[in-house]
């Protein structure tokens, strides 16, 4: 089933908006991570790690899930399909992987926030390079997905070739 151009553009707009928002939110985590490592004021360092947990739950996760959902909808409701082109499959895998890692990493955000919230904990134990590293890797992954979406490199999967053959024969669509 495919949709008309107006719905297709609406879905595309929604997908681009939430995905760019997701990348921006990861940029915010990166900024907080740098602040947490570089700031000298104890309150600022603790605040940076405390802010990451709600940011993850209220901004990162919703945007990641929205990006995944709008991407799947868009591929299923247009001629691209979900499993017909290698670039769509690869982009789906990248988004799925990033979302699953983010979901698992929420435990780390919670643990870092717990340490940061404890006034007795040493500032050295509060500082953690992990969120910055993960944010950079996440940005690189989403950048790769963006490149795939813009360039759309050619290549049909086996399933895509089968579908195309069936359509040409006038059989199952």
């Amino acid at each position: 089933m495919t949709v008309g151009p107006s719905v297709r553009k609406l879905l595309l707009t929604a997908h681009i908006t939430v995905t760019v928002g997701w990348m921006g939110a990861i940029g915010c985590v990166l900024g907080l991570a740098v602040l947490g490592l570089a700031a000298e004021d104890a309150g600022t360092v603790r605040g940076a790690y405390l802010a990451m947990e709600p940011l993850a739950w209220w901004v990162l996760m919703p945007l990641a899930l929205a990006s995944l959902l709008t991407g799947i909808l868009q591929s299923l409701l247009t001629t691209w399909g979900l499993l017909r082109h290698y670039w769509v499959v690869l982009k789906l895998l990248i988004t799925l992987f990033a979302t699953v890692v983010l979901l698992m990493y929420t435990r780390t955000f919670a643990a870092m926030a717990e340490v940061a919230a404890d006034p007795a904990s040493d500032l050295g134990a509060v500082r953690n390079p992990s969120p910055g590293l993960h944010a950079v890797l996440a940005l690189l992954l989403l950048l790769a997905a963006t490149v795939l979406a813009v360039y759309k490199p050619k290549g049909l999967t086996g399933y895509g070739r089968l579908r195309r053959g069936n359509i040409r024969k006038g059989g199952m669509v």
């Binding site: 435990r107 404890d118 040493d122 490199p153």
Partner: protein, 47 residues
Amino acid sequence: MPRWVKVAIVVALLVVAAAVAVMLLSGGEHGPGRHMSLGVPTTVLSR
């Protein structure tokens, strides 16, 4: 399979291998588990 897909698979495998190597070299301490023990941050437990 197009060449770019093969290159992407090789790059992905190299990245995964590098991540595994980093984990092994750092004593397997990676992921949420390194911050927690029975749900309590290790830094809290150690105090």
